[in-house]
């Protein structure tokens, strides 16, 4: 499931490690890395789709050869034309993200797995398990560096983290939140944590940070919900000056939607209370780390050159027209160690427009989309009254 968990550099340790190690040879299959070098938001959609489709067909062949479960799934559920070299992007097989919760799917031998990412969105749910080798980790951090570089510039900026350092205390078992913070720390310098272990604003730490770095650009990173509840709501009235800050945040809007806070409100309030103007939300998931869909100045999300979204009509599962809400499928050329290059999420989204040269929209080409929310939970029917029974048990 698309946890919308911010794990930009996932398992920060491997991401960081891979970045500083010599690149590892890619798997034998023909990997087209040219999309990793292409201008991030500069490919026109038809060209992008053609190149993505070719790269993903090759990846599909790779995973079919390397992952017996993936081969069985594609053999039974898809016709061979889905991985024909001439296949269109929308014809490629996809796996529901929920499958990574129930099954171990890897395209490399166990001995080559360097990191296992786990995530569980809601309490009590089974976590996804994502198996990374050095090649995939390296590709992920390379991709992420390109995307973050786009907004942060080439230099590592001083970094304020809207979280507590306690998050990183247990270095062997990171939560998805910890992994996200650690991954992001590779793009900042002299990091300070803005919250104390009780999630209260550490006014002294923030004050010191701003006194030292507040007059040049600096990076702020945090989870959307934490930024609002733990930071903004406590920082109001303190007169903090974050006008030089660049906030990167993720984690989903569900909890804030419950408080009737949407993206425009979020940004307006931050600006009013702290002078913060540069705010970038991103959409990503632990099942496709590195494939980050970053917010543009217009508030819409933009897929990078090496990834894309396809909105599918829930009735027909065919691609929905721009403007029509449907289920989000995300594709990415990054995953080689597990068959996660084409995933059907449990999120609803809408493509607002397809950017073309000369048209408005941040000067970015390709799809511009919004995440509308989670697919609403189904109401259970039937004579097995598990809901009532669970409540009975709970007493």
């Amino acid at each position: 499931m698309s946890e919308e968990i911010a794990t930009p550099g996932a398992g920060g340790a491997p991401a960081g490690a891979a970045a500083s190690t010599a690149p590892v040879a890619p798997p034998s299959s023909a990997l087209d890395d040219s999309l990793l070098d292409a201008p991030l938001f500069g490919l026109a959609q038809p060209e992008k789709e053609r190149r993505l489709a070719a790269a993903l067909v090759a990846l599909t062949a790779h995973h079919r050869a390397a992952c017996p479960e993936y081969r069985r799934l594609t053999d039974v559920l898809y016709a061979p034309r889905a991985w024909d070299p001439a296949a269109a992007l929308t014809e490629l097989p996809y796996l529901p993200v929920g499958l990574f919760k129930s099954h171990r799917l890897a395209s490399v031998p166990a001995s080559e797995i360097s990191t296992t990412l786990t995530s569980s969105g809601t309490t009590g749910q089974v976590p996804s398990q994502i198996f990374l080798d050095k090649v995939t980790s390296h590709r992920q951090s390379r991709a992420l560096a390109a995307i973050m570089g786009h907004i942060l510039g080439p230099r590592r900026l001083p970094m304020l983290i809207i979280d507590t350092s306690d998050l990183l205390k247990n270095r062997t078992a990171f939560s998805a939140r910890g992994a996200g913070v650690l991954g992001m720390m590779t793009f900042g310098a002299q990091a300070r944590f803005a919250l104390d272990p009780a999630m209260a604003l550490d006014v002294a730490a923030v004050g010191e940070f701003l006194a030292k770095h507040g007059r040049q650009p600096f990076l702020i990173f945090g989870f959307t919900f934490m930024v609002w509840t733990a930071f903004l709501e406590q920082a109001r009235g303190l007169g903090l000056d974050l006008s030089q800050g660049i906030l990167v945040h993720s984690g989903g809007w569900k909890k804030l939607a419950d408080r009737a806070v949407d993206n425009p409100t979020f940004k307006a309030e931050l600006r009013r209370a702290t002078g913060l103007r540069r705010v970038y939300n991103f959409y990503g998931m632990v099942e496709q780390v590195g494939s980050v869909f970053l917010e543009g100045e217009d508030g819409l999300l933009y897929p990078p050159a090496f990834a894309d979204v396809i909105v599918r009509d829930p009735d027909t599962m065919l691609e929905a027209a721009p403007g029509q809400v449907g289920i989000l499928q995300t594709v990415s050329v990054l995953p080689t160690s597990y068959p996660g290059h084409s995933l059907l999420t449990e999120d609803l989204g809408v493509v607002e427009r397809v950017g073309q040269a000369g048209l408005p929209g941040c000067g970015r080409l390709g799809k511009a989309f919004r995440v509308v929310g989670r697919v609403p939970r189904a109401e259970l029917r039937g004579c097995s009254d598990t809901h009532a029974a669970q409540r009975e048990h709970a007493r």
Binding site: E69, R72, L73, V76, L77, L95, P96, G98, L99, S102, H103, P314, D315, I327, L344, E346, L348, V375, P376, R377, A378, L380, R381, G382, C383, S384, D385, T386, H387, A388, A389, Q390, R391, E392, H393, A394, R395
Partner: protein, 439 residues
């Protein structure tokens, strides 16, 4: 009375298991319940139990019960609301005068002179939250037996349940039904173990619907030593179609089959225990191929036309289920006939589990004969619906299973039709006491 019931429950609970402490607060103050039938009121549980036990005794097929059901049925069948809710129409037919008289005649015919049938006393019904009309079937059987009845309704109200309760309140207000009125209490209370225990301690029979988990949860409340549970556990159901019969059916026959299948599958999002989840094509593969090429598209089109449209979450769950089924089982092909119907073909029944997402998914297998079921069926399997298969084959299967599974073998279209015969019980018979008075 208001104190003796909780006391008894506490004592027996202590003796049985000390792990479940009584919930704080609920047993000290007099617990309140929301009465819905025979009138809407917030009342102390103690007064409900007191008036039920003070009600004048009755006997099986008493005139006032027959009169109430007759009025109820006529109102329901004439009501425009019923047209929008097929389950209300079915309930209306089940309670109509001719049907009740037929049931009575059947019982009289089977009566033995040395046995006098009398009511059990108080029957406690715990129906499921999600199937709106089961509480009525459970209650009607017990009403006809002459029992006093306490029905616990779920907090999850629905227009159907509200409508039925209002109708019953109105009909029970008739002065000539006052005695009967005293024997009915349909009520709601929160998940309060103390209340469940207090009622359980007073009843002669406890009817628990809602599957394994609900049965286990309710069963933690002890019954009086001489009382019984009538538990309805989680069940699985399947469908057997004669391949040749479907392949060769006329257009009209096929249309009838499709409509009946639709009712069996989709009334409760295929989540009812009796809705089929596996389809066996009995006959040669060639015939089965021809038959399914006719049947599935027609069924999907009919479902679409009837407006059956599982929501996005259900369909995603169905989709993930297919992927898991491929990895975990022997699925050899998937056919998607739009949002309402997905069919997963399995090479054989070996290794086929009973997990199911509901919302219009069938496993299918082609078999030479019903004998293929002999080793697969377990106690969990409840209903086999059938079409185009001779009765002697069905009887032979049941005999061969020898009680290892299957409690109902009914024609297509009757999967969800509640009857006196359910889960291997004769409900009518379970709800009476037979006193032996030899000549």
């Amino acid at each position: 009375m208001s104190t003796s019931a909780p006391d008894q429950a506490t004592t027996t609970a202590d003796a049985a298991a000390s792990a479940s402490a009584p919930p704080p607060g609920s047993s000290e103050a007099a617990p309140m319940v929301s009465l819905w039938v025979p009138e809407r009121a917030e009342v102390p549980l103690a007064s409900v139990l007191a008036s039920l036990s003070a009600a004048p005794p009755s006997h099986p097929f008493a005139d006032d019960a027959l009169e109430l059901l007759d009025r109820f049925s006529r109102r329901l069948l004439a009501d425009p609301i019923s047209r929008a809710h097929p389950e209300l129409m079915t309930l209306g037919f089940f309670t109509r005068k001719a049907e009740v008289q037929r049931a009575k005649a059947e019982r009289l015919a089977a009566a033995r002179p040395e046995l006098v049938e009398v009511p059990l006393g108080l029957v406690f019904h715990v129906p499921p939250a999600n199937v709106d009309t089961i509480f009525m079937y459970s209650w009607v059987q017990s009403l006809l037996a002459g029992n006093a009845n306490l029905v616990r309704l779920s907090a999850r109200r629905s227009p159907v349940v509200d409508h039925l309760c209002e109708l019953l309140c109105e009909l029970l207000a008739a002065p000539e039904l006052a005695a009967l009125r005293a024997r009915v209490a349909m009520l709601h209370y929160g998940h309060d173990d103390a209340i469940t225990a207090a009622i359980s301690a007073r009843c002669a029979l406890r009817v628990i619907w809602g599957g394994d988990a609900a049965v286990s949860a309710i069963r933690r409340a002890p019954l009086p030593p001489g009382a019984r549970d009538l538990p309805f556990a989680d069940r699985y159901s399947l469908l057997a179609l004669g391949a040749a019969a479907v392949a060769e059916a006329s257009a009209a026959e096929l249309a009838t089959l499709v409509e009946r299948l639709f009712n069996d599958l989709y009334w409760f999002d295929q989540a009812g225990c009796s809705s089929p989840r596996l389809c066996l094509w009995v006959g040669p593969r060639v015939a089965a191929e021809a038959a399914r090429a006719r049947l599935w598209p027609a069924l999907a089109a009919f479902a679409e036309q009837r407006g059956y449209h599982p929501d996005v979450a259900m369909r995603l769950a169905k989709d993930v289920f297919c992927y898991r089924a491929v990895l975990d089982g022997t699925v050899v092909a998937r056919a998607v006939y739009g949002p309402a119907l997905t069919v997963l073909e399995v090479a054989s029944l070996d290794g086929l589990g009973r997990e199911h997402p509901g919302a219009g998914l069938l496993f299918e297998a082609v078999v030479d004969g019903l004998g293929a079921l002999a080793t697969w069926v377990t106690r969990k399997d409840q209903t086999l619906t059938h079409f185009g298969l001779p009765r002697d084959q069905l009887v032979a299967l049941v005999q061969r299973l020898a009680g290892r599974g299957l409690d109902r073998v009914v024609p297509v279209g009757q999967a969800l039709q509640m009857s006196r015969w359910w889960d291997g019980y004769d409900l009518a018979s379970e709800m009476i006491r037979r006193v032996h008075v030899p000549a």
